[in-house]
Symmetry: D2
């Protein structure tokens, strides 16, 4: 069976990688793109043979497809994904920044149309597993710190993945203060940021790409879960998985970890 | 509620740590020990107040208890554990080397008596989680290598934990050859040992204690799960967990991972 | 040749390790101890055969020795070391907290008596090398961050070793701001402490002992220098080295790195 | 002052990076290239404005320059470097595979012409420092193992850098057997390759790039020196350094470590 795919956001960095991935995957076929800057034809990313639409409604009406992939921005991605689901197109959304209300509305539409939808803020399977394992480990190891390391072009600290990891850990970890109650900083900031007692340290250096370690401390033992990502290619295995999994779904699932087969 | 415990093997290294743990845990009470070298009383490990039995049958008949902990050798541990289960004493067995037949027989007796039993070859919760997470990750990352590091007094390589990790990974990993098909060793052994295509590397140095890293490689990403154990104290959280969990069981469970609450 | 040693501070943790080290080293001989709580004889640390002195002057007058090891506190160690040098006893001082003036005065006395003295705030050879290599690397890699990890009983952050490492790096590193000029913290402290633009992160968890990583970032490359110390035994190789090296000296040297043969 | 550079090997991967580096460095100027496949002009790597020569002799006669960079193969690089030195052009050679005789002859010519030459098999400053520090550390930590990790397209194991690291360590390490004398492998290869008692482990996984750790074990302590290289850009800082250093030389130096300012 061939999976026919419409892709929105073909000019972005994620979009470019997605096009390569679709071309390399025998059972996938790119049947159209949606791009606000192009119409009919495009001369980038080897898309010369692929119809390009400016208008999503027209695209979904004219082109027969199985899956809609959205790699845009919330202002475009939200209305487009709604349209796709109404056209009974299964949707895989990598766009980040959807609100709680956006997700609730898309869930309602997916259910009404019995059409699968996967929204995933992170497609790197290794990062998703790192967060999932961290949540599992925190039941038994409530003392945990995170160190995330990125290139020195990154402006914000801590990273979104570190923040998301803390949220997942909080689902199982008994709330507690960590470190010695009388500890003190000789230099302010030495002990890092904290969220619910969990310390987060952000390193920024040239040469680093995107790395995170979650370190759990117990009695005379340490458990460390670490992810290294070297470029956007690392998202493609997860995107491929989402496309395959969404074909089996009739509802909306948020977070790649919830379609992964962990046992 | 107080959990009354009979311990076999109080003189060994694990036994000494277990006695400390039981003393430190408010709800646990050491009511007797079984030791082939002592009877009635012992003057080691602060056991002056604890009755010591040479004979297990006599101990189980005379002493009222909830849990029997076996930290001995198979020749002693197997018959003793059978006796304990027949006396409706729940059993936690840390003795390694039980045969498949031993385990089957103990399972039968546990079921007949509706008495819980946990046999765990490894009580370090972090090591158990490392193996469990490795099994989970291998579904998505079939390319994996293991490096284990121990002090240079260790004679055998690879370690039992490395071998057990490979077995657990094999439960989910699609069998495959790893590395380049044309790879070659300039110095023999450089690529390590292999089991089902999974490479295992054993480092031995003074200063090392007991460490293992399981490294999964994917497209432009790495996922690493690492455990460091610094001494036998690291087994005590797992032993405590097993004592608590066995109270709820009416059958035999092999492997601590199968009583852990992972979700 | 046998090296006859007088040790001050035999009851402390470092002192106990030092006694073991001296006993294990064939060419070393413990000829006396100085201890403010004992006189003549002691019944701890297998010192039954070793004369113990309350008074340093008396000890140095009565006992013939080659090296005086001071593992006490500055209030005791400073006057005792002065006395030792005046008695032409070579001195190895592991006591921390000597002032700049203390060191200048001891240097003067060592030179006057042409008697060697080594003062070393850190006897762990691996830690000394880590700091030395960090100083060397910083000439070529001025972008550097430090992460130090200790057990959660440690009160102060960052560690003394981290602070000392920064000082050594400053000897070769061109002063510069690191990270993106527009970087910002979403959670305060995420980017750690800073000293001269060098970020320092302090992790505190049960299970950790004493660890430090110095990470240098360059164009598409990282250089990491890491030290792990598991207990006070790790100081003994350095103490042994200092005793051997001080025999050749006729002046005072501060810092073990300055007697190490690095080339 | 502007440093005028002639580059041989502009089409290779290293050559492409070198051209970028020269363009980005204000005081460097690319005045000509030597390329066996092109003459006069080239339309790759933004070389449209740079004269290209097929013949080295003609190039050196017609073009005034300060430094000749050779990034070719030994069959081309050796005669070209000889010619360059005879033309009093200082030479920086990154070509690997020169024989001992090649190097001796080039040394003689460099000395005769009082013209500097640097031959460096590895331009990654971090890797050079890792090897240098390993040599230094081995004096005090003779127990050492190496683990090198590369992508699974690499055919040979262990890597050239690992082999070179062992050679440098051997300059200071007392020859000794490592590990327990009675150690044994349950699975052959577990303990890795060995050279002079030093164990080397080679990991090959997708997602890895080029990494090496040198781990020294001592009494209750570990010292680790690690280098990660993410692409050929990591060689450019070292090439730039060599160009600057060769301007001050009147002889041949082999190995970047011998022009680095380490103190």
């Amino acid at each position: 069976m061939t999976v026919k795919i419409i892709l929105a956001g073909p000019r972005g960095k994620m979009g470019s990688e997605a096009i390569k991935m679709i071309h390399n995957e025998q059972k996938f076929q790119l049947v159209a793109c949606i791009d606000k800057k192009n119409n009919t034809k495009a001369d980038f990313n080897h898309l010369e043979e692929t119809p390009i639409y400016y208008d999503a409604e027209q695209c979904f009406s004219e082109v027969s497809a199985d899956v809609y992939i959205d790699l845009t921005i919330p202002e475009i991605g939200f209305p487009n994904t709604k349209l796709a689901l109404k056209h009974n197109l299964r949707a895989v959304v990598g766009t980040s920044g959807f609100t709680e209300e956006n997700i609730q509305e898309l869930t309602r539409i997916a259910n009404e149309n019995a059409t699968g939808c996967i929204i995933a803020p992170n497609f790197a399977l290794g990062a998703v597993l790192m967060m999932l394992f961290s949540k599992m480990a925190a039941t038994y190891f409530p003392d945990v710190e995170i160190i995330e390391k990125h290139h020195d072009n990154k402006l914000d600290a801590p990273s979104g993945t570190a923040t998301k990891t803390v949220e997942m850990i909080q689902q199982t970890r008994e709330s507690k203060q960590q470190g010695h109650p009388d500890e003190y900083e000789i230099l302010p900031g030495a002990r890092g940021a904290q969220n619910d007692g969990i310390r987060i340290h952000s390193m920024r250096l040239p040469g680093l790409v995107a790395h995170q370690e979650v370190i759990f401390g117990g009695q005379s033992q340490l458990l460390t879960i670490k992810h290294d990502s070297f470029n956007r290619e690392s998202f493609m295995d997860g995107l491929k998985l989402a496309v395959n999994e969404v074909l089996e779904l009739e509802t909306l699932i948020y977070g790649l970890e919830n379609v992964m087969d962990i046992n």
